[in-house]
């Protein structure tokens, strides 16, 4: 029984947030601060012939105008580093999508900066364009970079699919598509850069301060040590605020003007130019035996990566590693590709390729169940991973695989909901199930390790230093809980500082559902390391072996003789007397083994699981879908803070519901058609069911801190599949593309064999 871990403690940052005191980047102001605006390309693909800034420079109140030639260091960013570091922060020879940055302005007011932007004259020579990924694949397609638009190909090959298909009793094929998605955090990106002596400080809404520092430093030609990144309160990230273009541009302006410079994107800019979810297609072929066993799976994933590489190689990789879903398959052939087009660039977004492959694998399983005449849940149970299962990558699952437990728990709920269906008039009701596994933490080519420092101060209170970016998911609180538990002290004694790269140490990006597992474990190890200093001191004071001592509820005592004890406080005082500083550091990276050329390896150190159940009402007259009930059954190892686990699931359901029913970035020849939140629609409260439940299954991951894994992306990735499955249950139509709008459902209903009236 733990004291702090596992408890629904109040989050540490909420007090500031409910009073409006929490400072988001745009809330901040500095003396003499300038305002920045960006001149953007109106063309999707063009050579830059000439940029004339004279008139703009002469406008009163304009301090500086910068173009590519003004970048002192390397004019290149890209989260994965070389060879995928292909985006200039200011376009040099050409622009590659509408919105590409061409010039920067810093002025005394936003208004003046806007006026200056309009006065800059750029002459372009238009180049042929390519927007469609199938066009981009063709050898004679216009090229964005180098010789080919294909810049990534991940293979995962296991066994022999031809043999597998030959042995199969039946084969199912499908093409599944997901569109370009927008993170739609309510906070548009913002940042302030300022230079103090030889140190550049950037205060911004970032998910990746350690990495952002390096990128900014390279742009400026500074050593990493002289760039400081401070994470302002982040108003939602979901992967979109790993992108650091804003920070780099603000820093460049601060460097040139020697003044603080604020850059805040408008909602339309945020929609157009910051990283998106790549539109993706999953083409697949699955072979089954008549007993319902999966014998072979062949998958091709194609990502429309847009103008620059950003995270696309990693998205293609993850999609491939999870392409068979959480099912045992002996013969696998997965090819996952990323192609350039003249569209906004894809980056990291919650789910990271899995939403597309999950749409495919869950739909195929439902279709197979229908063909076999068995319950879709039972078919999943038949094929689901167990301890000892070998994944498509050859990785063997060695410990606690709770997938089947989540499915078994779902059984009862599905049965109950089906029994209590109430249909009336044109309304049909359906219940659907989906399941997913999710690798926790990143895998190559995304860097993964984290570190932390724990210092026990001489009054027994504790500071934790890390750069684990809390973007609203509550990682600061989780780290505090983990450290408090490791040291056996009260949560109120722990202060976590993750916001400042001057205080914290290298931490992985907040992504891949991995902060609890990786950064949390790093913090625990740092606490354990600090603890060992205390225990060594206590061992001396008590005259026992250090190895016998435990630290619990503010007391250090010997397991062998509980009378041999000393309070945490007194042990600290003894350390002070001995002139010992109680300091510990720790680092952790998930136990992985990189994928070889056939995609064989162990890409993730741990996997979380979820089964989700949706109930929908379908209006057969209009095609409208209403999600009336939704339950998630996650297994995420130890739930360090159950309230936060629920929060992730509930929020994930809203994101998944939005993506199932209404979310889509629409572009016409590279021109944004959905620039506002009135056109890119996300669910309002009335679109979400109030009957929203999370039933957390207990679990334990031995490699994670106190048994914890991660939850962020099991939360949203299978949601569309559960909804689509429920729609099929209600009205018998199968959908292979999201979003499924009322219009699409209506059209499918008309095509069905039985006419609407008789249904």
């Amino acid at each position: 029984m733990m004291d702090v871990v596992g408890k629904r403690v109040k989050r540490l940052d909420m007090g500031q947030k409910v009073t409006g005191q929490a400072a988001f980047a745009d809330d901040l102001k500095f003396d003499g601060m300038l305002y920045a605006k960006v001149l953007r390309s109106p063309l999707p693909h063009a050579k830059i012939k000439r940029i004339n800034t004279r008139k703009a420079e002469n406008l009163a109140g304009v301090r500086v105008i910068l173009t590519a030639k003004d970048v002192p260091g390397e004019n290149k960013i890209g989260v994965l580093g070389d060879p995928f570091r292909d985006q200039p922060i200011l376009a040099d020879d050409k622009v590659r999508f509408i919105g590409d940055s061409v010039a920067l302005v810093a002025a005394d007011t936003e208004e003046i900066a806007e006026k200056a932007i309009k006065l800059i004259k750029v002459s372009y020579k238009e180049l042929p364009t390519v927007f469609d990924v199938e066009e981009s694949r063709k050898p004679n397609s216009p090229k964005l970079h180098g010789e080919s638009n294909q810049f990534y190909h991940r293979k995962i090959y296991k066994g022999d699919v031809n043999e597998g298909f030959a042995k199969s009793d039946f084969i199912l094929e499908g093409i599944y598509k997901t569109p370009m998605h927008e993170h739609a955090y309510i906070e548009p990106e913002s940042g302030i850069a300022k230079i103090d002596g030889d140190e550049m400080t950037v205060i911004t809404c970032t998910q990746s301060p350690s990495r952002a520092r390096e990128e900014i430093a390279r742009i400026l030609g500074f050593p990493f040590s002289k760039v400081r990144v401070i994470r302002a309160t982040v108003g939602g990230g979901f992967g979109g605020k790993i992108y650091n273009l804003l920070g780099c541009q603000a820093a460049l302006l601060a460097f040139k003007t020697r003044k603080p410079v604020k850059l805040t994107y408008s909602r339309a800019e945020s929609m157009l130019i910051t990283t998106k979810r790549q539109p993706a297609t999953c083409k697949c072929k699955w072979g089954f035996s008549n007993e319902g066993k999966i014998l072979a799976v062949e998958v091709e994933v194609v990502l429309n990566a847009g103008a620059y590489a950003d995270h696309s190689p990693a998205v293609a990789t993850r999609a491939a590693t999870q392409g068979t879903g959480p099912y045992e398959v002996p013969n696998v052939k997965i090819d996952s590709y990323a192609f350039y087009t003249n569209q906004p660039l894809g980056g990291a977004m919650r789910g990271f390729g899995v939403p597309t492959v999950c749409l495919a694998h869950e739909s195929i399983m439902d279709r197979a169940a229908e063909k076999l005449g068995v319950d879709p849940l039972e078919l999943r149970l038949k094929n689901a991973y167990n301890v000892g299962s070998k994944m498509a990558t050859g990785q063997v699952l060695t410990h606690d695989v709770a997938l089947k437990k989540t499915l078994e728990k779902a059984r009862g709920i599905v049965g109950e909901w089906r029994k209590n269906k109430r249909e009336f008039g044109p309304i049909k009701v359906g219940v659907g199930v989906s399941t997913v596994h999710y690798g926790i933490g990143s895998t190559a080519p995304v860097p993964n390790p984290s570190s932390a420092i724990v210092e026990v101060l001489y009054d027994g209170s504790v500071i934790v230093r890390s750069n684990c970016a809390d973007i609203g998911q509550g990682s600061d609180t989780l780290i505090a809980q983990i450290v408090a538990e490791e040291l056996g002290i009260g949560l109120d004694k722990v202060k976590v500082h993750t916001e400042d790269s001057a205080a914290g140490t290298w931490t992985r990006n907040t992504c891949a559902s991995g902060q609890t597992y990786v950064s949390g474990e790093a913090a625990r190890r740092a606490a354990a390391s600090a603890k060992s200093i205390l225990l060594a001191q206590a061992a001396k004071s008590l005259g026992v072996d250090e190895g016998d001592l435990v630290c619990e509820k503010g007391t250090i005592y010997s397991k062998k003789d509980q009378q041999k004890k000393i309070s945490f406080q007194n042990a600290v005082i003894d350390c002070k007397k001995a002139e010992t500083i109680i300091l510990g550091c720790g680092q952790f990276k998930a136990p992985t083994k990189g994928l070889d050329q056939n995609g064989q390896g162990s890409p993730y150190g741990a996997y979380s699981y979820v089964t989700q159940i949706a109930e929908v009402e379908v209006n057969t007259e209009t095609g409208e879908v209403k999600v009336t009930k939704f339950t998630s059954i996650p297994e995420v190892g130890t739930a360090i803070n159950p309230t936060q686990v629920e929060g992730q699931l509930e929020g994930g359901v809203s994101m998944g519901l939005g993506q199932a029913l209404m979310e889509e970035i629409v572009l016409k020849n590279g021109v944004m058609q959905t620039p506002t939140l009135a056109q890119y629609l996300i669910p309002t409260i009335l679109d979400m069911p109030d009957d929203l439940k999370t039933d957390i299954l207990a679990g334990y991951e031995p490699t994670g801190p106190f048994g914890a894994k991660g939850v962020g992306e099991v939360a949203n990735t299978p949601v569309p599949s559960a909804i689509l499955s429920a729609i099929h249950d209600a009205v018998g139509v199968r959908i292979d593309e999201i979003p499924v709008t009322s219009e699409k459902i209506y059209a499918l209903l008309q095509k069905r064999d039985s006419p609407v009236k008789n249904f």
Partner: protein, 286 residues
Amino acid sequence: MKKYIIPENLSEALEALEKYSDGAKLISGGTDLLIQIRDGKTKPKYLIDLANLRELNYITTKDNSIKIGALATHNDVATSGLIVEKAPLLVEACSSIGAPQVRNMGTPVGNIMNASPAADSTIALLALDAEAKIVNKGNERIQKIESIFAGPGKTNLKPNEMVTELQFKELGANQGGGFIKLGKRRSLAISIINAAVVIKVDKEKKIFTDARIAIGAVAPTPLRVKGAEAMLVGHSINDETIENAASKAKKEVAPIDDIRGSASYRSEMAYMLVRQAIKKALEGIK
């Protein structure tokens, strides 16, 4: 933008409109106009803010004729006991606009002056056969709102004219109304298509004696489908009559494809929504 003008009463507003007519825009709720200005879609030189014209904030009835002043908000209408009792379809329409904050700011008169082909309150008012009191300095006239719309976002009002009031007859004992909206989500949604119906019946003969059917987002302006109306009037109240009217409505609409929906879906839904709205209106009578 050259000047912001803030009149304290209607006659000052009319003075300002007279003086600045061509380059001026009136702002009441602001929920549409401010966004158009920010997007650069409209560039008025003068902005006349009507917010202080408290004399135009009323919802009253006289001789069975309901009058809604220009400053009455969607929320004022949706929560008015008078409207709830005497024209409930307008309550449904105004309640389905935007979201609570938008309903506290926007006005039915404002939506009419904005001439969106899809505005929920406008469609209900069209089915109520509402009239607008159109005023300029020294003159006032009444015009049916049906004839005010000239195209998407355009009215045929002169630059120095404003609408100060809408009026329509209370629904009587043998009348019923219904409003249906189809949106892409359940709040903060512009309609894919909407429909409003006001019918009158003869309870003894069991026939429709009058019908007004209005559909939004299916034409350049809010549309009365008079062919469909004619399929009801004089006919028995039964499913076949309703089917005929709904089918006729589908043929009368001329929707386009846009980001919210395709023309063919809108046509199909015109049929569905008219059918549903007529049934709803009938329920309101019993």
